[in-house]
C-alpha cells in the first residue's frame, strides 16, 4: 500500500516535471531549427536539413544584444537595488512604529497591490510625460512604485520576527538609527532580501509593457523590447525569436540559481534564547 502510494506520487511528480519542462524543450529545440523546420515539426529534435545553429548569431546581432543586455541589466539592477533599500527601510519603520498612521500606511501599501497596472498605465504615462520622466531613470522610479507594495509586505512579515532587543543592544553599543539598520537589521534580512530580489529582478527583466510605454528611444531598448522586432504584422521570425528568448533567459536563470543558494533559513537562530 505504502509502495503504491509512493509510486503514484512519483508518477504524478514526473508528469508535473514533463508539463513544466515542455515549453523549455520546445523553445530550446526549435531555437536550433530553420523557420521551415519549426513549422513542419515543432516537437522534433533539431537534426538534419533543418538544423540551423547560426540562428543564434543572427538573433544576437538583430537583438543588438550587448547594447540591449546592458540596458536591461542597468534597469533591472538599479530598480531591484532601489526597491530593496526603500522597501526594507520602510517595512522596518512600519513594524517598529506602533502609531495608527503606520498601520494605515501599511494597509495602503497592501491595497495598492490590488490595483491592476492596466488601469493606471495611461494616466501614469501622461503624468510622467508632463514631468519629463519618460526615460530609463523615470522607468526605475516607476518600478520602485510598482514593486514596493509586495516587497514591503514581504519584509514586514520577516522583520516582525526579529527581536527588538537586537536593535536596543545596538543603540547601547553606539549605533544611530541608520547604523542600527545597516549593521544589524539589514544583514538579518538576507533570506527575504534574496526572495525580494529574485521576484523583482525576474519581473523587471522580463517586463515588456512598461518599458514599451516609457522608453521611446531605440538606444535605450531592453531585451524584451528588441525581441518585439522579430514579430511584424505579416511575418513572425520564430527562428530568431526562439534563440533570442534562450539568450534573454540565460542571465536571469543564472541569477536565480546563484541567489537560490543564498536563501539561508533561520539566520537569526542563536541570537536569542
Amino acid at each position: 500500500m505504502e509502495k503504491l502510494k509512493r509510486n503514484s506520487l512519483l508518477g504524478f511528480g514526473g508528469l508535473l516535471v514533463l508539463l513544466f519542462m515542455s515549453p523549455l524543450y520546445i523553445v530550446v529545440t526549435n531555437s536550433f531549427k530553420s523557420q521551415k523546420g519549426i513549422v513542419i515539426d515543432a516537437l522534433g529534435l533539431p537534426f538534419g536539413e533543418y538544423f540551423r545553429p547560426e540562428n543564434y548569431i543572427q538573433a544576437f546581432e538583430e537583438l543588438r544584444f550587448v547594447r540591449s543586455f546592458i540596458n536591461s541589466l542597468a534597469i533591472t539592477v538599479s530598480a531591484t537595488v532601489i526597491i530593496i533599500i526603500f522597501a526594507s527601510m520602510a517595512a522596518w519603520m512600519l513594524v517598529r512604529s506602533k502609531s495608527k498612521f503606520s498601520g494605515v500606511l501599511f494597509m495602503v501599501f497592501a491595497a495598492a497591490m490590488l490595483i491592476p497596472f492596466q488601469s493606471v498605465m495611461l494616466p501614469l504615462i501622461n503624468l510622467m510625460g508632463k514631468l519629463n520622466m519618460l526615460h530609463p531613470v523615470g522607468l526605475v522610479f516607476m518600478y520602485l512604485g510598482f514593486g514596493s507594495s509586495l516587497s514591503i509586505i514581504l519584509y514586514h512579515g520577516f522583520i516582525k520576527g526579529i527581536p527588538k532587543e537586537l536593535e536596543e543592544a545596538a543603540v547601547i553599543d553606539g549605533c544611530n538609527t541608520f547604523q542600527v539598520f545597516w549593521y544589524i537589521v539589514f544583514p538579518l534580512l538576507k533570506p527575504i532580501t534574496v526572495t525580494v530580489s529574485i521576484l523583482n529582478a525576474m519581473w523587471i527583466w522580463n517586463d515588456f509593457l512598461l518599458p514599451q510605454l516609457v522608453i521611446n528611444k531605440p538606444e535605450w531598448h531592453t531585451i524584451p523590447l528588441r525581441m518585439f522586432y522579430f514579430f511584424g504584422q505579416y511575418s513572425k521570425k520564430w527562428f530568431l525569436a526562439l534563440p533570442g528568448l534562450v539568450i534573454a533567459m540565460i542571465p536571469i536563470v543564472i541569477f536565480y540559481i546563484f541567489m537560490q543558494k543564498h536563501i539561508v533559513k533561520g539566520v537569526t537562530q542563536g541570537s536569542i534564547k
Binding site: 532587543e165 536596543e168 547601547i172 549593521y183 539566520v267 541570537s271
Partner: protein, 366 residues
C-alpha cells in the same frame, strides 16, 4: 564605578497608563542592586529608563555626577545584558564583543586586547570565532556579559539575564556573576522576578510592586523585617502565612484572633500594637516558625494535615485550622510519621511573627 541616583522617576505611556509612580532610589558606588517584583511591577521599565531605552516622563536619573535624562544610551556609561542575550547572529563572538568598541572607532589593537581580556575572564577564548548559534545557552549568556564588560562601563544593567537558562546552569551563572562583581567591583543593577536570585546576589534588594518601591534593604532585613505585607508575602518560599485577624485584649495579655484561633502575643510585640486593640490586622508567620507541638497552649493551633510535600532536606506541611490554611516548614526527618488527614498540634514562634495594619498593610510590629 559610579553611583546612580533616581529622583521622582515616573513613566506615563501615551495612552495615559502610569507604569512608574515617583521612584526615589540611591544606588551606591560598586553596589549590586537587585530590582525584584512580580510581572508588570515596572522593574524592567525602570531599568530601561536608566539605560535610556525608555523616555522618562518626570523625575531625574543621575549616573555619577551627570543627569542623564537627555543623554543618548551610548553616552550614559552603561552596558546592558538582555534577557534573551540579543547577540548579533551574523557576527562571530569576537565581533559581537568588539562591536561597541568598533562603533567608538577604537584602535584595532586595543579592541583585540579588551576582547581577549574579557574572553579570558569569562572562559570564552576557544569560541571567539564561532557564531552565536554554535554556542550553548551558558556560553551565549557569557558572551552577552562579555559584550558588556569590554565597554568598561560605569554601571552594568542586567534584565533578567538568567531566566532562559535551565535550573542547574542558572545556579552556576549566578555564582559566576557574583564572582564577576567581586572581581571588577562595578555598580550593577540586576532585574529579576526570581527571589532566590535576588536574595543570593544582591547587596541590597529593591522590591517593587505596581510601579512603586515597596522596600529597599539588604536580603536578610527584607526577610526578617519586611516593612509591609507585600514584601512579607513576596520574599520567601514557601511564602509567609498571612491571615486576617483581630487584636483582642483579654486583660492578661494581647491576643490575635484569627477565625476561631486565639494566639497570645509576646510582650514586646503587644506594646507596639497597643493602639490596635479591637481593630482588624494582618497576621504573618513564616512557615519555618511553625513547628510540630506536643501539647496545646496559647501559642499553638490544632490543625488537619491537608498536603505533605517532602523536599528531601525539609518538608512542607499544608494544614487547615478552622478553615484557615497554614504552611509549616520542618526538617524532613521530623515529618516521617505525619500523614495526610491526621490532626496535629503546631506551635507558632510568636516572637518571629509580624502584624500588619489592615488598610495600609504597613508592618506595625517592628
Amino acid at each position: 564605578m559610579s553611583k546612580v541616583s533616581i529622583k521622582g522617576l515616573e513613566k506615563v505611556y501615551p495612552n495615559g497608563f502610569q507604569a512608574v509612580h515617583g521612584i526615589d532610589l540611591e544606588i551606591k558606588d560598586g553596589e549590586f542592586m537587585v530590582f525584584v517584583g512580580p510581572s508588570g511591577c515596572a522593574k524592567s521599565t525602570t531599568l530601561r529608563m536608566i539605560a535610556g531605552l525608555e523616555e522618562i516622563s518626570r523625575g531625574s536619573i543621575v549616573i555619577g555626577d551627570r543627569v542623564v535624562n537627555d543623554v543618548q544610551p551610548k553616552d550614559r556609561g552603561i552596558a546592558m545584558v538582555f534577557q534573551n542575550y540579543a547577540l548579533y547572529p551574523h557576527m562571530s563572538v569576537f565581533d559581537n564583543m568588539a562591536f561597541s568598541l568598533k562603533m567608538k572607532k577604537m584602535d584595532k589593537s586595543e579592541i583585540k586586547k579588551r576582547v581577549e581580556e574579557a574572553a579570558t575572564i569569562l572562559e570564552l577564548e576557544s569560541v571567539l570565532d564561532r557564531k552565536p548559534k554554535q554556542l550553548s545557552g551558558g556560553q551565549r549568556q557569557r558572551v552577552a556579559v562579555g559584550r558588556a564588560i569590554v565597554r568598561n562601563p560605569e554601571v552594568f544593567l542586567f534584565d533578567e539575564p538568567l531566566s532562559n537558562l535551565d535550573a542547574k546552569l542558572r545556579v552556576n551563572m549566578r555564582v559566576q556573576l557574583s564572582q564577576l562583581h567581586q572581581k571588577i567591583g562595578t555598580t550593577m543593577i540586576y532585574v529579576t522576578h526570581d527571589q532566590v536570585e535576588a536574595m543570593t546576589m544582591g547587596d541590597r534588594i529593591c522590591v517593587m510592586n505596581l510601579g512603586k518601591i515597596m522596600q529597599v534593604d539588604t536580603p536578610l532585613n527584607l526577610y526578617h523585617a519586611p516593612q509591609n505585607k507585600f514584601v512579607a508575602g513576596f520574599i520567601g518560599s514557601p511564602s509567609m502565612n498571612l491571615l486576617e485577624g483581630e487584636v483582642i485584649d483579654n486583660k492578661e495579655s494581647l491576643h490575635i484572633k484569627i477565625g476561631g484561633i486565639e494566639l497570645a502575643l509576646p510582650e514586646d510585640k503587644a506594646k507596639k500594637i497597643m493602639d490596635y486593640v479591637g481593630k482588624k490586622v494582618w497576621f504573618g508567620c513564616r512557615p519555618e516558625y511553625i513547628n510540630l507541638g506536643a501539647e496545646e497552649s496559647n501559642d499553638t493551633v490544632k490543625g488537619t494535615i491537608q498536603v505533605l510535600e517532602h523536599m528531601g532536606n525539609e518538608s512542607y506541611i499544608h494544614f487547615d485550622v478552622l478553615g484557615n490554611r497554614f504552611t509549616s516548614r520542618i526538617d524532613s526527618l521530623d515529618s516521617k510519621d505525619l500523614r495526610v488527614g491526621r490532626e496535629q498540634i503546631f506551635q507558632m514562634d510568636m516572637d518571629k511573627c509580624h502584624i500588619f495594619d489592615y488598610s495600609t498593610e504597613e508592618n506595625i510590629s517592628l
